[in-house]
Every structure is written in structure tokens, then in C-alpha cells.
Subunit: 225 residues, 2 copies
DNA sequence: CCGCGGCGTTAAGAACCCGTCAAGATCGGC
DNA sequence: GCCGATCTTGACGGGTTCTTAACGCCGCGG
């Protein structure tokens, strides 16, 4: 089920969106200003963000930049009929689409579908194999030899980020942001624990990692083959 | 350079777009109807498609479906003020964005940038090679001959600044500011230590630098090739 | 000939990072 | 409401990295 976060300070619009989206089988959560919106973004991890630019506490482009600082989740901007320059600024700040009020609900839903469609499908190579184990991104399964390996949700998230960036170095900052959310930049502790768990479950010799490497001071790297 | 294909049957709009896009350093090609548009799409392989729905020979959604059959190139649809249902149909057929005429050129350009940005999530970072070693900025990796070279975080940061400014002189002031932060302008000591480390790890003869050169009194310079 | 400033080299202690373990705290299913 | 699984948090030892200072070399100008 697709999860949508709506940030808007006008109660009627908020309510209308919530009703319509829920009826269309979206999971909706809401926030009424920029600050709590950014917090909700980190907490809820929606698949799409619908953002009204006319917020009481922050400039809309600031919210966009705040979100774009750590995730590429699609952003659809709503705004009152108005300045062309605002559109340009929002889009260049990293928004994906821009809808002018008043808007038709059908149009918004169509743009929402388009945004989700663009964001989700990356069925390039859902299966990554090493000599020791196999990771199936689509099925969220890890196989080692003949048997399945049981991973906890957090273990899986960490592994997924590393595998999707195979061969590249992933900084601790980025790992923490993608798995736990921004604001956990200092909890490098978590990474040590979960890397240890993953190595125990996946490495032939956990004390001498061959696939899940540490780059001291920088981050971690998954090495296939 | 980004390549754009515009499919539109109204000569004035076609001309206006061509002039504006060319001025913005896009490479533009055009087609005046659906059939030749699809042909141009296959022949020219543009990075973005701008498609007017009011074509004489085909329904717009048919063109979209024709394109979507074999490529996920971003599609921005133009259309006369009109039916909401047309928007929905176009977006659901696979269009990425929808702009209603009359539109502001600035807005269209911003939406164009947004579409291109989304489509190319891999801003390829260069790989710099010398006869002795290879620096891969994206993977944060240095290879010498067949083996990887292990760099500490600070060593990597210094090398990265130099490589990103290959062939150019980088002042000590700037190196210190970018790696250690401003306020370290006087700690030229650090540079000597880390340049020595890098040379020991990368140069064939560390005492006679060939790639990491000192410009006495000024700074350092990385010389590829 | 000598002093001086910039540079390269080296070494040692301090600071930091990582892997490991284990004890709460929390969550979710029954 | 109970119980197991999972997540958070703190502490420790061993290793690495950073910082800092001292020393020697070289070219230059006095």
C-alpha cells in the first residue's frame, strides 16, 4: 500500500485530501506546518510527499531542500494560483511536480500515480549473487547455499542499501539516514551492531569479512563476486 | 548536452520552443505529427520528449503508449486549456508531466529540468587514471596496478580535492579550508604530513613526485597522465 | 659563511573508531 | 497480559588515525 504524507495548514484541504486518498487505498498521514512536516517525513517514511507551499512557519523551498537533503522521495507541490517564479523555484529546489489550486482531484490523483510509477520501478537487477550467498531485492530474500537466511527488518534494510550500491562506498551518514532517518548521524553504534549481525549470518568467516567490508572512518562497502 | 524532441503541429509554438531551448543549450529536433514523431523518437533517441496532444493524425495517448512501449524517456505533454479527463488519460498512459497552454516558458524550462534530473539519477563522477594508479571518485576507491590502495579518510579528502582540480594549482589555503575547515590556514604542517603519506602510497618514487607536485610557496598540483 | 624560511620526514601520545558482548527497553503475536 | 523476537544503549579492549613537535635538507640572500 502506498503511503502519502500531506503537509498543509488549511484544514479543509487536508480533510478533502485525506478522504479522497484513503478511499483510493492510500495510507495517509498529515502535518500542518513545515517543522512537524519534516519530522513526520523522517518518522513515517512515506512513498510520496504532497506539500502545500503556503505554510505558516517556513518557506516552501526550505522544506523541499530539507527533504532532498537525505531522500529522493517524490514531492508534489500544491500552491495557490500565483507567481510563476515560485513554481520555478520549487521545481529547481527538487520538487517533482507542481499543481495549482484550485485543482481537480482527478488530476492530482493522476499526477500522484505518475510520480509513484516513476519512483518505484527499478527492476534492473533484483538479484545479486556472490560465491557465498544470494540477495533477491524484489522478494526480499537472502539465500545461502541451499537454505534461506533469516534477517530482521533492520538487518534487511541495511543490507539492501549496501547491495543497491554494490561496489561503492556508502558513508555511515548515508546508511544511518536511509535506515534510521536523518538525525541519527551520530549513532554509529547501531551500524556496528548490525554489520556484526549481518556478517555473522552471511560471511564465511565473520572475523575476516570478504563481502561486507569496513572502510575505517568512512563507511562500509558491499563487494559482490 | 541534453537532447530534446518536440512533437507539435503548430508552427509558431514549435518555433518558439526551438529558439528558447536552443538558447538554453539544449539540442532540439522536431516533428509535426504523431507518425513522424514516433519515427524521430526511434531515430534520434532524445533525452526528453515534449509532446503536444493536439496532433492531426493520432490521438495523443496513442503516441504516449507507442513511446512507452520501448523506452522510459521522460515525456512532458502540452495541451490546450481543456478537458481534465485528457490530463488524467495522458498521465496514466505514461506521461511524466502535463503543462496547459498558454504556459510560461520559465515554467516549462523548470519542468524540463525536473524531468531530466529525475531521469538521470547517476551523475557520473569521473574516473581519473594515470600510468601508476586510478582514482574512482564515485566508488571512493584508489587502485594501483591490480591491488586496492587503502587511504585514511583525511588522505582521501586531500586526494579528492586535488583530483577534482586536476592540472590546476590548489593553494594550501584552499586545501586546508576544504579538508580541515576554515580557521586552519596556518597549519601547513598537516599538508606536509599528508602529502608525504599520499606520495608514499601512490608515487613510484616518493622522493621524486611525478603526479603530486609541490608548487613552492603556493600549494600543490595533481598531474594526470 | 651563516641565518632563514619553506619543505619533507619521522615518531609518539592523544583521540578516535571498530568489533564484541550483554543488559534493558520495546514491539508484536497469541 | 504474557512471551519471544527485535531494537536500543552502554561499556570495554585492541587497533588505527590524527595531531603535534622536532629534526634535517635545500636554496636564497645577506
Amino acid at each position: 500500500m502506498t503511503r502519502v504524507l500531506v503537509i498543509d495548514d488549511e484544514a479543509p484541504i487536508l480533510r478533502a485530501l485525506k478522504i479522497n486518498l484513503t478511499a483510493r487505498k492510500y495510507e495517509v498521514c498529515t502535518a500542518a506546518d513545515g517543522a512537524s512536516g519534516l519530522a513526520a517525513m523522517a518518522r513515517e517514511r512515506p512513498d510520496v510527499l504532497i506539500l502545500d507551499l503556503g505554510l505558516p512557519d517556513m518557506d516552501g523551498t526550505e522544506v523541499i531542500k530539507g527533504v532532498r537533503g537525505w531522500t529522493s522521495t517524490p514531492i508534489i507541490v500544491l500552491s495557490a494560483w500565483g507567481q510563476e517564479s515560485q513554481k520555478v523555484a520549487a521545481l529547481d529546489a527538487g520538487a517533482d511536480d507542481y499543481v495549482t489550486k484550485p485543482f481537480g482531484m482527478d488530476e492530482l490523483l493522476a499526477r500522484l500515480r505518475a510520480a509513484v510509477r516513476r519512483a518505484s520501478p527499478a527492476p534492473d537487477e533484483p538479484v545479486v549473487t556472490t560465491a557465498e550467498f544470494t540477495v533477491d531485492l524484489a522478494r526480499k530474500r537472502v539465500t545461502r547455499g541451499t537454505a534461506d537466511v533469516r534477517l530482521t527488518p533492520t538487518e534487511w534494510q541495511v543490507l539492501e542499501v549496501l547491495v543497491r550500491n554494490a561496489d561503492r562506498l556508502v558513508t555511515q551518514r548515508r546508511l544511518l539516514a536511509e535506515v534510521w532517518g536523518p538525525g541519527y548521524h551520530n549513532e554509529a553504534n547501531y551500524l556496528r551492531v548490525y554489520m556484526a549481525n549481518l556478517r555473522r549470518k552471511l560471511e564465511p568467516d565473520p572475523s575476516v569479512p570478504r563481502y561486507l567490508l569496513t572502510e575505517p572512518g568512512m563507511g562500509y562497502r558491499f563487494l559482490p563476486g
